[in-house]
């Protein structure tokens, strides 16, 4: 039972190949399943080998879901508003130079849910990536990640420019827009998530 409690710690590294050396043996139970009990020195973390100590959860394993949710909502709000201002207002003139590439305005309402869904998905996974990438949070480190992510999108923008009849003005708008959006959205996520992060503390 002690072993079961100890292994509740997510840092447990019990491997099938190490059972013989660590003394863990399967024991049949009335519930027709096997549990592992230790008959040797009880420890969970084989790398550290601290006998009988309950390991503290590592900072990277802790996620503050409340802060995560706030960061996600803030990121979504920023991405949505920025997209509206940048693409819907500022770039509107550039887009209207190639009207054949876009859906007619009458169809915009019909596909609006896809736009919202795309932004939600983007904000959620951007938040997740920032939290995984920079467990300590912070606007600066997260903004750096955002810039790297923007570079991926800029690469995709270049490919789009080669295959679709976009103007150089639209390409420039995509590039600058992606840089600003990812850098600022990531900075917002980092700033919100930082305060409660154990790594930051």
């Amino acid at each position: 039972m002690w072993m079961l409690l100890c292994c509740a710690n997510s840092d447990c590294r019990l491997r099938r190949s190490n059972r013989a050396t660590t003394g863990h043996r399967p024991v049949a139970t009335p519930f027709a399943c096997k549990i592992w009990v230790d008959i040797g020195p009880p420890f969970c973390d084989e790398r550290l080998g601290r006998g009988g100590t309950q390991q503290q959860p590592q900072p990277k394993e802790i996620m503050d879901w409340k802060k995560f949710l706030i960061a996600f909502v803030a990121a979504f709000g920023f991405i949505f508003v920025f997209g509206f201002l940048w693409h819907g207002m500022l770039m509107h003139g550039a887009y209207s130079e190639v009207p054949a590439l876009w859906r007619p305005e009458a169809e915009h309402g019909k596909y609006f849910t896809w736009l919202v869904f795309g932004h939600i998905l983007m904000a959620f996974f951007l938040t997740l990536l920032c939290v995984k990438f920079v467990p300590g949070g912070g606007a600066g480190p997260c903004a750096r990640l955002g810039i790297l992510l923007a570079l991926i999108y800029i690469g995709v923008d270049f490919i789009f420019y080669a295959v679709q009849p976009l103007t150089m003005k639209i390409l420039g708008g995509f590039v600058v827009g992606d840089l600003i959006m990812f850098a600022v959205a990531s900075a917002i996520i980092g700033a919100i998530y930082k305060s409660s992060s154990p790594a930051a503390a």
Partner: protein, 137 residues
């Protein structure tokens, strides 16, 4: 640094070959259905260097992100990163679908290809750029 460069070159070669095979060969007919949204082939060939620069930038950014925060986990981390980046790309495709008259089939198929591309890129980068293996050897 040596491993970083190797990982970048290998990722770039894979992305280039996969892009050509998947989009240029396998999905050729699907792309033809939305011909009005794309440049004519001759024009596209004239702008081919933009594709090369874009794919090189994509590969470089992938390796940089991996090297900065995911390198400890090896191949599994590479795959993890690849999946997350592709989900971000899918979100952008949803926005494209809302604004451009792409057939849904095209976006679904490019997303499937994108997942394969990013997962394999993650495997390649994770296998080549592995500081733990480098220290052990």
């Amino acid at each position: 640094m040596k491993r970083f460069i190797f990982a970048f070159i290998a990722a770039f070669i894979f992305i280039f070959l996969w892009g050509w095979f998947y989009n240029g060969v396998l999905l050729k007919d699907v792309f033809a259905e939305a011909q009005s949204l794309f440049r004519p082939r001759e024009e596209m060939m004239g702008l081919f260097h933009w594709i090369i620069i874009g794919q090189a930038g994509l590969a470089l950014s992938f390796v940089m992100i991996y090297a900065s925060g995911f390198a400890g986990g090896g191949i599994a981390s590479g795959v993890h990163l690849g999946i997350m980046l592709e989900i971000l790309a899918v979100s952008a495709r949803c926005a494209f679908y809302a604004t451009q008259p792409f057939p849904a089939k095209l976006l679904v198929l490019t997303s499937i290809g994108g997942f394969i591309e990013m997962i394999v890129t993650g495997v390649i980068v994770g296998a080549i750029y592995n500081p733990a293996a480098a220290q052990a050897s």
